[in-house]
């Protein structure tokens, strides 16, 4: 049975968290809060980042923060599953979402429609260079496969396809498969990072820690970029345009040979070591324009950065 924090505990949590630091971009860095002891089932927030602390996007969907050590404290450790979603702020933006993921929190039914939710900065826009065409997805902070939360507006942000599929999904997969395999618990926190009053987050911080083995199996602290290669985004409003510079760069050269993984939809330089491990059934050689590949939904390998 799912346990969601009650209104009282949520209010208490909000009051406590308002005394702590949230993650926000722009302006002066906020103070790092002291450890706050929260009632059982509520998570401390001990480390904060500003966008100034986070490296520029350089072609890899995520980057480790604090040596990949999540900011949970021993007081957060619990084997009782729960989930918590921050109230929307005055701009209608999501705040942090956190949970203790257990098998009892995971969905038992197929996911329903979430199209009724319009997260802050939402725009419906399509580009040929985006897998599935649509630039934006309604991105679950805590993925549906983890908590079974469907059309919860406090759990959905405007995120690029790249953020959703290349950035967040691999981490959700790792946590979900660990919990399913072991029936253990994982502390899990996702915090959208906004600059100033922007309606679209620059990215999300994802933290996780396996409880029963104190992080021996699952432990990470990463920032995942809310970008889309080939598209320029105005994070203040969510408006976007094709990156003409990137398109020109990608089409100005001669035809280039790549190795494709038709399963993962990644493309690699022919010299990339990762290309060597692609199974025969998923491997294809391709010679042509890079733009053609991205238009087909392929994304560049994070290692060789073709």
């Amino acid at each position: 049975m799912k346990f969601r924090l009650t209104a009282f505990t949520a209010l208490l949590c909000c009051l406590l968290l308002s005394a702590c630091t949230g993650i926000s971009g722009g302006g002066e860095p906020e103070n790092t809060s002291p450890v706050v002891i929260l009632p059982e089932g509520q998570m401390t927030q001990t480390v904060s980042y500003s966008l100034a602390d986070i490296p520029e996007y350089t072609g890899t969907p995520y980057v480790a923060l604090s040596d990949n050590v999540p900011g949970f404290s021993s007081g957060d450790m619990t084997t009782n599953s729960y989930e918590y979603y921050s109230p929307l702020d005055e701009l209608g933006r999501c705040g942090e979402a956190y949970a203790c993921i257990g098998v009892d929190l995971m969905p038992t039914e197929e996911r329903g429609s979430i199209s009724s939710v319009k997260p802050s900065g939402w725009q419906t826009v399509k580009y040929d260079c985006v897998d599935g065409k649509y630039l934006y997805n309604r991105c679950h902070l805590i993925g549906f496969q983890l908590s079974g939360e469907n059309a919860n507006k406090q759990n959905l942000i405007t995120g690029t396809r790249y953020l959703n599929v290349d950035g967040m999904l691999p981490f959700e997969n790792m946590v979900a498969d660990y919990v399913k395999e072991t029936e253990n618990h994982v502390l899990y926190r996702v915090t959208p990072v906004y600059e100033g009053n922007n309606l679209v987050a620059d990215g999300v911080q994802m933290e996780a820690l396996s409880v029963e083995d104190s992080g021996e199996s699952i432990s990470f602290n990463v920032f995942v970029y809310n970008v889309q290669p080939g598209v320029i985004i105005d994070y203040a409003t969510g408006e976007s345009r094709l990156d003409d510079g990137a398109a020109a760069d990608s089409t100005s050269g001669e035809s280039v040979s790549y190795i494709l993984n038709t399963n993962s939809k990644k493309f690699h330089l022919t010299t990339c070591a990762n290309a060597g491990s692609i199974s025969a059934g998923n491997r294809e050689e391709y010679t042509g324009a890079r733009e053609e590949l991205t238009a087909q939904g392929y994304t560049p390998c994070g290692q060789c950065k073709p």
């Binding site: 997969n173 070591a273 060597g276 491990s277």
Partner: protein, 134 residues
């Protein structure tokens, strides 16, 4: 030596010094593959097995100790570093994408795929096993 690895859709093996995933039925399949042969692994790998047959030997430098025909379950290093000693490969594919910062980089196009099988894991919908020979 014959290296046994588990990789995701991008050839990843580890993230933040931790295996990307694990599966009880994969472990059982691995032990069946190793029946009658010496199987090497380190303590990190051995810890996930509840019981291990007597043919399993654990050592941190097992890739240096393994002899011809021995199987080596390699989780926390890229077996490409031992390419000269590799006689064969058994590759388990999770058919999922996980985060990764250590990758399997042995160029499989240089090898012959001699056997392939798919099976459902205990927590993975489809695991693919590929056996490569030189």
């Amino acid at each position: 030596m014959i290296a046994i690895v588990c990789i995701d859709g991008s050839g990843g093996m580890l993230f933040n010094r931790r295996r990307q995933s694990q599966d009880r039925l994969l472990r059982e399949d691995l032990l069946r593959e190793a029946e009658g042969r010496t199987l090497w692994m380190n303590a990190y790998s051995a810890k996930q097995f509840k019981t291990l047959p007597e043919t399993v030997r654990t050592a941190e430098d097992f890739l240096d100790q393994a002899g011809n025909g021995d199987l080596c379950f390699v989780e926390d290093r890229d077996p490409a570093c031992y390419a000269g000693q590799l006689e064969g490969l058994i590759v388990y594919r999770w058919n999922r994408n996980y985060p990764a910062d250590l990758f399997f980089t042995v160029p499989l196009e240089d090898w012959t795929l001699s056997r392939q099988a798919e099976f459902a894991g205990s927590s993975h919908e489809k695991i693919t096993k590929e056996v490569y020979t030189k």
